[in-house]
């Protein structure tokens, strides 16, 4: 009896081993490990992407789908789309400027040995990134309410300025969106910079000190070259995230903002595709947006030298 149980066990283990032997194969294992990502990419990214391209040539109505050639694309370039593109572009410029520069300054400060309470500051700056944009947006909406009793207006009045109807002006509306995005993402970007700053070779600083370099010279010649890849990375993802921004606008105005001051390209896709039941047109706008992001990102990467090999 005892032997048969142990025989059984050995047999089972043998089966197990055989079943999972391919996991030990150096050729197969990597593919097994990356397969969840490949599968989810194929299902959740590539398939929707291809069907969006297909859909952009269709008129999609309940119960009837027709191919209508380039008609959807010929409708894309209308005044509302240009407004959306303009808003989005302004937003991208502001967020790229703010989200690559300010975190850099803060990270350098936080990385300084003379700075005290760095951990508290790091935590405080990072916490906004953990907040959902809807929650944060609701709080922003209260702070920047239209009434004179709203917090931001109280502050303005305290320093002798007039109250502002934040959600009704083009400038103040843009300010709200950029402020919300900046508040949320500065912490994450600081984290990237800090990681890069930790990797700067200290010998170089010492050498620079011996050579009598000042603070600025050290930053320019030692620190910046080391973190330049992070700067390029951050500006690239900020551009991409900026062009696909939706929530920051949605929390302030939902889908209809006065004078379209908060309309973004993705918001426009949402309005046309989902709210107005015009999926084909929405898909066409999406493809156009994709091309815009592609062109800008590639241009930016070429200009910043990200494609050059071995220059660092």
């Amino acid at each position: 009896m005892a032997t048969s149980t142990s025989e059984q066990r050995i047999h089972n283990e043998g089966v197990k081993k055989r079943r999972f032997r391919f996991l030990y194969s150096k050729k197969v294992a990597p593919y097994v490990f990356v397969s969840p990502f490949i599968i989810s990419f194929l299902l959740l990214s590539l398939y929707p992407f291809l069907s969006a391209i297909n859909m952009s040539f269709q008129r999609v109505l309940p119960g009837q789908i027709d191919y209508i050639g380039l008609h959807n694309y010929s409708r894309v370039f209308n005044p509302t789309f240009y407004t959306a593109l303009q808003n989005t572009t302004i937003y991208v410029v502001w967020t790229v400027l703010i989200l690559t520069f300010i975190p850099l300054v803060l990270a350098v400060l936080l990385n300084n040995r003379l700075m005290t309470f760095t951990n508290i500051f790091r935590a405080a700056i990072f916490i906004p990134a953990l907040t959902s944009v809807i929650v944060a947006g609701t709080i922003f909406r209260m702070i920047f309410g239209d009434s004179e009793a709203a917090f931001a207006n109280q502050v303005l009045q305290f320093i002798g300025l007039d109250a502002v109807e934040w959600r009704y002006g083009a400038g103040s509306g843009m300010f709200l969106m950029v402020a919300l995005a900046s508040w949320r993402w500065i912490g994450v970007n600081i984290l990237y910079y800090l990681a890069a700053l930790q990797n700067v070779n200290h010998d170089l600083y010492e050498a620079a000190d011996i050579d009598g370099a000042g603070v600025w010279q050290k930053f320019r010649n030692v620190t910046f070259p080391a973190i330049k890849p992070v700067v390029i990375f951050l500006s690239t993802i900020t551009i991409i995230n900026g062009f696909r921004m939706f929530e920051e606008s949605f929390v302030f105005w939902e889908t209809s903002s006065p004078g379209n001051i908060g309309l973004t390209v993705v918001g426009y896709i949402y309005i046309e595709g989902i709210q107005r039941n015009d999926m084909g047109f929405g898909a066409a706008v999406g493809i156009v947006l994709l091309l815009i992001i592609l062109v800008i990102s590639i241009t930016q990467l070429v200009l910043t030298g990200a494609f050059k090999k071995g220059d660092s």
Binding site: V60, L61, P62, G63, Q64, R75, N78, P79, T80, D146, S147, Y168, E254, T255, S256, S257, P258, G259, N260, L263, I271, I274, Q275, R276, N277, M279
Partner: protein, 453 residues
């Protein structure tokens, strides 16, 4: 170790927070927390009846659930052999309409019965409507109804949606303010009288005469409809930039900037929190909104109880129309229902019968679209609306019944609404950067460019 504990604590919390929503369906009672699919409120009606057919109902206004709760109970009493168990789910306005559109588009996931708001309704009529025809029940009742209210939910002679109210637009006066200003509201007959009264109000009190919407259409649309204009004519041609409309928008602009008796609505529209507070504090002497707005007074402006009087609208010229039918919700049966016969018959029972129309008034405070019940005895029984306002509400309604113009709803109405709400009102009323003529022409141009399909 501490960190590990903390981390696992957080993940457990997050998991329970995500998983907590399912209760709504299982325990059956009203559950104000989110359900698994994001509904704000889920109510199961008639779950204690064995063998009841299960139907789902989506709406965007939880008050409507109460109305259907009553209808299901009445149905189950009347037809004990064919009982119904209705799961009513309330979602935020946009979310519900989007979900419903996507569900109908993709062919799965739609409820049996759904409420669709008039502004969104044309989206559901595009292509081949994925809704079940209700002609069998509507046609025999046509003559008892304010017909225009049935037509707005029809396409090519097929009735898909059943109306919820007439939406007769009226003027709500705060008599505490008008009396303080020395204005007799019964002497206001034309808009000119109204402006004169408004000047008295502004002069003698801290309040303005009225508020005009800058973010929604409840000021512009009733006014143009009252004077016989519309966004589209009866042939479906766009007339958004016609003379009457330009003139009306100028009139609204002048109420604020020339006559200085009105201000832009705090919060932008009459359903904003800011507005409820402003009105409740006596900020404005009057308000033009449809009858169905009564419920907003009783729910959100409790301090005005006993002070508000309802009157017909001032006219554009003597003998002109004193009202306009505004807004609406069509209730439909989707083609994804597994019980088409029961669902359509129940819906007709819930919204077409005289009893159900009386309930529309008793439960929701809506002016029922079936006018043969307006002078019935039940309509005069005391309720919270008579309590809040005054008791001759239906006499007023009967007197203006024939002064409500039809609306011409086309599939491009949502486009017009979008142009008006995001561009026209903003540039004319708020920024004053465009004249009504310029703004309406531009909007009409934008809509026309979409019509060429």
């Amino acid at each position: 170790m501490k960190k590990l504990l903390l981390l696992s604590g957080i993940s457990v919390l997050t998991l329970t927070a995500c998983g907590g929503g399912n209760d709504g369906d299982s325990n059956g009672d009203t559950n104000a927390s989110a359900s698994e699919n994001g509904a704000e409120e889920v109510v199961v009606i008639g779950e204690d009846i064995e063998g009841a057919t299960e139907l789902t109902f989506w709406n965007f206004q939880e008050l409507h659930t109460g109305f259907f709760e009553d209808a299901v109970n009445r149905w189950n009493e009347e037809y004990p052999d064919r009982p119904i168990q209705l799961t009513a789910e309330t979602y935020p306005y946009d979310q519900m309409h989007n979900n419903l559109l996507l569900a109908l588009q993709s062919g799965s996931g739609a409820p049996d019965i759904a409420d669709i708001e008039l502004n969104q309704y044309p989206n559901f009529l595009r292509g081949e409507p994925q809704l079940l025809p209700m002609n069998e029940y509507v046609e025999p009742e046509l003559e008892n109804f304010v017909q225009s209210r049935l037509e707005i939910y029809a396409k090519d002679g097929t009735y898909y949606g059943l109306p919820t109210h007439v939406g007769a637009t009226v003027m709500y006066y705060n008599t505490e303010i008008t009396e303080a200003a020395g204005v007799d509201i019964d002497s206001i007959e034309t808009w000119d009288d109204y402006i004169e009264a408004g000047k008295q109000v502004v002069q003698n009190t801290d309040a303005v005469m009225t508020t005009v919407e800058s973010d929604e259409s409840w000021t512009f649309y009733p006014l143009i409809s009252q004077r016989g204009s519309d966004y589209f004519d009866e042939n479906g041609e766009l007339i958004l930039d016609n003379e009457a409309n330009v003139d009306t928008l100028q009139f609204i602009h002048d109420l604020v900037y020339e006559e200085e008796i009105a201000q832009l609505t705090p919060g932008g529209f009459h359903h904003a929190e800011e507005y409820y507070g402003f009105m409740n504090d006596g900020g404005s002497a009057s308000l033009m909104m449809p009858m169905w707005y009564m419920g907003r007074f009783t729910d959100y402006m409790p301090d005005l109880k006993g002070k508000m009087q309802i009157r017909p609208l001032p006219t554009w010229e003597e003998g002109g129309n004193r009202s306009a039918g505004m807004g609406g919700t069509g209730t439909v049966v989707t083609n994804q229902t597994e019980h088409p016969d029961l669902a359509t018959e129940f819906l007709a029972f819930a919204k077409l019968t005289p009893e159900s129309n009386i309930k529309l008034w008793e439960i929701l405070g809506f002016d029922p679209p079936r006018f043969d019940v307006w002078d019935s005895q039940e309509m005069n029984e005391p309720n919270e609306f008579y309590d809040y306002f005054h008791d001759d509400i239906f006499e007023i309604l009967l007197s203006i019944r024939d002064e409500i113009n039809e609306l011409n709803i086309t599939e491009y109405n949502p486009d017009v609404a979008q142009e008006l709400e995001s561009n026209v009102y903003h540039s004319v009323l708020r920024e004053q950067s465009q004249t009504p003529q310029e703004a309406l022409e531009q909007a009409a141009e934008a809509v026309r460019s979409r019509i060429v399909e």
